[in-house]
Symmetry: C2
Subunit: 185 residues, 2 copies
DNA sequence: ACAGCCATGTAACTCGTTACATGATTAC
DNA sequence: GTAATCATGTAACGAGTTACATGGCTGT
């Protein structure tokens, strides 16, 4: 019991604890709306691979297969729930890992012109705005089901966290941009 | 020309553009002081693997091998420099990827007690303080060489960015902690 | 009829990790 | 002398990606 699976497997398992059954396809969509912002949304192919493994281990169960085994909904089993909570209690959380291509490029900014660095930061601000708006939509869709005790109380807290993170990034990058633009003159 | 290498290869190449030659070992140390905070510090073994590949491609050059080929310093070649700047100009930066185990656990907080979630966030605050202090030491070590035009101008900007990020995390997590602790009573 | 989305899966491959093996040099 | 640090590398493996293949269902 309580095998060691990759974190992504437990993450997907966790997405099945919100009271509904999902197809692999739907699970991927939920990952795109949640996991994507602070973990990684696994590729479609990996979702199916993980579901096969979790199914093998009895942590999820496929049901309701239509014709051709299509559209079968997966649900977490009692064993899966135990395995997930055991993991939560067993594994210390570990520090976040950030892969930040913009910061990496800024680090070696001496190799390009200040104008190029400024453009890099401007692009990043644009991307931030897009992401932020996407997350804002997700967050808004949880309104009314986000009180303490409600189904999406925790997801809404995480979404708020993400929104504040984006906001913080925006502020810092704007400040950096001013520093870079001073060197342009 | 301008092969497509993994980002980590270009990152290591970038660490060789600060005017000094490094052994694989020293390169790893520099990665631990810089890359670690906003990319990933590759394992020792990978540093050597990447150096071997970069060397093969003529992007870096090993020199000064002592007895037994030990302590040979690597330097970036003119070709390496061209390849790196070409990459900077060719590849758009892409959005950061965050793997945040704490946020992930908070998402499925309904599976554990509020006290456990609070403990999770407390632990994270402790870890944040440690990291922040480490980065602060790095940042302080750049003082005096961080003016516009100086060797470590860009690294110091990135370090400042990192410090503000840590500070932002602290603020948000403290706020979340209060929300969680309200449910404990 | 055709586009677009729903839906599932396999194969090949790369990145990067851990474990292992080896030995030199420096500090106490 | 012995522990810590410096220094380099190989082998096995796992996680996760892209490319590929397949086909159903829905709306226009």
């Amino acid at each position: 019991m309580s095998q060691d699976l990759p974190t992504t497997a437990y993450a997907l398992l966790g997405l099945l604890t919100f009271g509904d059954d999902l197809t692999g396809y739907e699970l991927k969509q939920r990952a795109d709306r949640t996991l994507r912002f602070y973990w990684v949304s696994p590729a479609m192919s990996q979702v199916y691979t993980e579901l096969a493994r979790l199914s093998e281990l009895g942590l999820v169960k496929a049901r309701d297969a239509g014709p051709n085994k299509r559209s079968s909904k997966y649900s977490i089993t009692a064993k899966g729930r135990r395995s997930l909570t055991a993991w939560l209690e067993r594994e210390p959380a570990g520090f976040p890992v950030l892969k930040h291509p913009v910061a990496l490029r800024l680090l070696i900014g001496h190799l390009v012109t200040p104008a190029r660095t400024a453009a890099l930061l401007h692009d990043y601000l644009d991307q931030l705005e897009v992401r932020s708006a996407e997350l804002q939509r997700v967050r808004d869709s949880l309104r009314g089901r986000d009180d303490p005790g409600a189904a999406f109380h925790h997801p809404s807290m995480v979404a708020d966290w993400g929104l504040e993170y984006f906001e913080g990034e925006r502020t810092v990058v704007e400040k950096l941009l001013r520093r870079v633009e001073e060197s342009t003159q």
